[in-house]
């Protein structure tokens, strides 16, 4: 739509130009005397013309429009630079024009849904597997044939990109949260959660740290909290035997989920965690050694590395006998259903991106464990990758069913209320009702 609007704006600007040239020709006056009217004023619109066209993209996020190229890829800021060399190689070798366009990660799905049917979307875009439900529902993503390389990919990643029996993308990285420990403050990995609490609280009492554990809580973040939920036997959607999620079995008001809410409420009361930590504050606190532990994922590591803080990634220790299972997300490339050439898109993905070299290059840009086995082995001796890998072994794939869209906001609100002291049973009860209502509609 915005491309059309832009063209319209150009048309109108041109009209103004015509008007400017035209005005002085008006016959009524011209006949008698050579001085009709309208001076300066019309020059202004004329000058507006270039402004209208050049509108810079940063200012007006609405203006992301498909670039003119044979193959257009949308990726976020961290991965665009890593993709560009491959796109260029592919373009040179195949004699086609390839463009990599930067789009904020959390906007890619909405934008594809909006612009693809109008022919203004990308051919390939980077995304998370849990978008699939929505994207398939909207009919903007097409299934691709990865049977030739399936064996080279980690099983869970292929499964994650399978929806309703069809394979919808080329997975390239998996991700999950883990427990990150400041090794200067806590040299040895705690074996149980009680130990985490004990060691952390001791440091806090000694004035070494402000908070024992930081995780994003402002706004509340059900994704980061999920290991606690599973440790207390809570769940979001019940799983069938084959691992698929059952949208009719909502677990937000289950005993375990509520117990996890109670535990977190207790930790806030004890000052073990704080309800006021935004993602940026979490990075700050852990980077400046004001927190002993951080609960987050591999995406935060570059920031910790920049800050020169000594850390290690541990799998989650058991909490009161329960094993914390983080959500496992899979990142991958998807092909738009309205791609100009699906053939070209799939050729690029299967022949260029599904290679060890490409996967390692992407890993360097953004340290999430690669989904290709050979590439994963290459980096597996990195202790951070090992730590997240171990934490993720027990993980649950994030539900990709469209019903999950109805969950996040209500669940977040539930946590917000619990953090401020509302009874967890009531808060999650309300959230569950809201979600059931939304799914039912």
């Amino acid at each position: 739509m915005s491309a059309v609007l832009r063209a319209f704006a150009l048309l109108v600007a041109l009209l103004l130009l015509v008007a400017a040239c035209e005005a002085e020709e008006d016959p009524d006056e011209v006949a008698e005397e050579p001085e009709p009217e309208e001076p300066e004023e019309e020059e202004e619109p004329e000058e507006e013309e270039p402004e209208e066209e050049e509108e810079p993209d940063e200012e007006e996020p609405e203006e992301i429009v498909r670039e003119e190229a044979d193959l257009v890829i949308w990726a976020d800021d961290t991965r665009t630079p890593a993709l560009e060399p491959f796109a260029e190689d592919f373009g040179d070798e195949e004699g086609v024009e390839v463009a990599v366009q930067e789009v904020p990660f959390d906007e890619i799905d909405e934008r594809v849904i909006d612009s693809a049917p109008a022919g203004e979307g990308p051919d390939i875009f980077i995304g998370a597997h849990d978008w699939l439900g929505r994207l398939v529902d909207a009919g903007v993503v097409t299934s691709i044939d990865v049977s030739g390389i399936e064996d080279e990919l980690v099983d869970v990643s292929v499964e994650a990109f399978t929806f309703d029996g069809a394979q919808y993308g080329l997975p390239y990285a998996t991700e999950n949260t883990g427990l990150i420990r400041n090794t200067e403050l806590v040299p040895d990995a705690p074996e149980t959660w009680d130990e985490v609490v004990e060691v952390g609280t001791q440091l806090q009492d000694d004035g070494e740290v402000e908070l024992p554990l930081v995780l994003p809580t402002e706004p509340a973040d059900p994704y980061h909290n999920y290991p606690f939920v599973t440790a207390y036997d809570g769940y979001v959607f019940g799983q069938e035997e084959d691992g698929t999620y059952d949208p009719t079995d909502l677990g937000i008001d289950s005993e375990g989920t509520i117990a996890a809410g109670e535990a977190m409420q207790g930790w806030i009361e004890d000052d073990f965690i704080s309800a006021d930590v935004s993602y940026d504050l979490m990075i700050d606190q852990f980077s400046s050694a004001d927190a002993a532990f951080a609960l987050t994922g591999p995406w935060a590591l570059p920031d910790f590395d920049d800050a020169d803080v000594e850390y290690e990634v541990d799998p989650f220790p058991e909490i009161e006998g329960g094993t914390p299972q983080p959500f496992v997300g899979v990142q991958g490339f998807m092909v738009s259903a309205f791609a100009e050439s699906e053939l070209l898109a799939e050729t690029f993905l299967v022949d260029y991106m599904a290679t060890q070299e490409a996967q390692l290059e992407m890993f360097d840009a953004d340290p999430r464990p690669p989904a290709m086995e050979s590439a994963f082995e290459e980096v597996a001796d990195d202790p951070n990758i090992e730590g997240f890998g171990e934490a993720g072994i027990e993980g649950q794939p994030m539900p990709a069913i469209p019903e999950m869209d109805s969950v996040w906001e209500a669940w977040t609100d539930g946590y917000e209320l619990i953090y401020e002291g509302e009874d967890p049973e009531e808060a999650f009860g309300t959230a569950a009702e809201q979600i059931r209502e939304l799914i039912g509609e």
Binding site: L5, V12, E22, E25, V136, S278, L343, V350, P402
Partner: protein, 566 residues
Amino acid sequence: MSQAAGGSGPGPSGPGPLGPPSQESLGARFQAQRGWWSRFGDSALGVVVKLAALAAFIALALAMIVRMVSLGAPMWAPALTGLATLGIVWVYLGRGKLPLKYLVPGLAFLVLFQLFPFGYTIYIAFTNYSIANNLSYEQSIERGIAESMQTPEDAPEFSVTPMIEPDDLEQGEIALWMVDEEDDEEFLGTADGLQPAEEVDPVVEDGEVVEAEGFERASLGDAQDRLEDFEELRIPLDPDDEETGEVRLVTLSRASVSEPTRQFDEERDALVQIDLDTGEEEAVYPADHDRGFFIDPDTGQRIAGVPGWRTWIGADNWVRAFTSETIRGPFLQVLVWTYIFAGASTLLTFALGLGLAITFNESRIKGRKLWRALLIIPYALPTFLTALIWRGMMNRSFGVLNDILPGQIPWLVDPTWAQFSVILVNLWFGFPYMFLITFGALQSIPADLYEAAKVDGAGPVGRLRRITLPLLLVTTAPVLLATFAFNFNNFNAIFLVTGGNPPISGAATPVGHTDILISYTYRIAFGAGGGDYGLASVVALVTFAMVAIISVFAFRYIRPLEEVYQ
């Protein structure tokens, strides 16, 4: 100047009101300039520029029409664009119609940026447009078929090399050199079928087939130019037996057998599920144009894997907006808060802006210009930046405000405090504007009125109430009204500072204590439940109606004010 004295006729706008003497010299300058301007217009160059601009305009319009058609827009769209273009060319080509020549660009903007979005919103409000109903009917059918591709279990797979007739790269026949790695067999595949390698005498160089049967291995660039042909190439495994299936390219280096299991039957207006082995119909899914889905008659539900399409659903969204518990429940609370937020924001910014304006209007204050410049700063900084800074400063545990102030004030987490906080932040955003407006308006109040009041014994409060405010309101009342309407829809102030939080406990749908109608609309459209644009349009229109009604009444109310002044 001498030209101006030549006595030009009145312009089409007629003789203007007699201005103060100082404007005469300005008018004379205008007239002097008309000289070169009109000479330019009459000159050959002027005509050329004009025609060139018109030609460029027509070319652009044509390009747009071509694009519309190529994108498959409904026929009325290019037709309308064409008509509008013709009309515009007619206006500008001939002589005369001068007023129209000036009005057309403005009208075009009005249509494009006001009427079109408004009309489109109304239209959307009567459709089921949402994430699940995102496509057009034709696109839905296309996707439904395209996503039903199936590869039979024991079908062969090939790694392939594209080939083209070397003497006619653009139009010549195309083929594939196909290697079945499992059975270690090689073929030349064309639209007529497969020929085993032994029959076609391939020329092999460096272990790769480069020539066979008049075809040559295509450079990737050449294959690229014929991409569409390669995409459409179907190679029957056995031309005599249709049921063995056709091979098609998966990527430029791989091909396999795959066929759609769904077909569209126009007569029955339904998708038909086909058993590829027997060719028989397995199921028929009729299109339901009231819901925008293909329906499984057994369950009455949409079939999975086929996206829905946008369709006209009449007043359904309106009925839902006014009856659904999830929407109606918090609506009243949100509405009341929206009025409080917009009203308080307007009054407080006005009060603070006016107070500062009166202060700095006082000649006794030193460095007034500097102070005035500093006061504009909040207005000059981008909202989304300062809003985030405020959010950080108001953090309960880590914010700078609570570092300075005693106690832990729950700025953004306690319902009442959060409401107070967004109004406070919005005051910071809004007062410089009010300061500018009132400062200007103050200058227009004659100083002798104040002197007279002083003589009559009016104190500062009396002068403010009896002179400043009444005279100020004449000029600023419309601005106050506009500010109210703006704040009624001030999405940024809410979304960036609190995001609508803290949540309302026990609400029927996720909603927060600081949500105003527009941020609530955003939640419906993009938040929980995911993308119901039709319903969101209804809420947006209701919001618009409220602002419109308030505006109409308010204008009625302020009109007498203006008359008083006159």
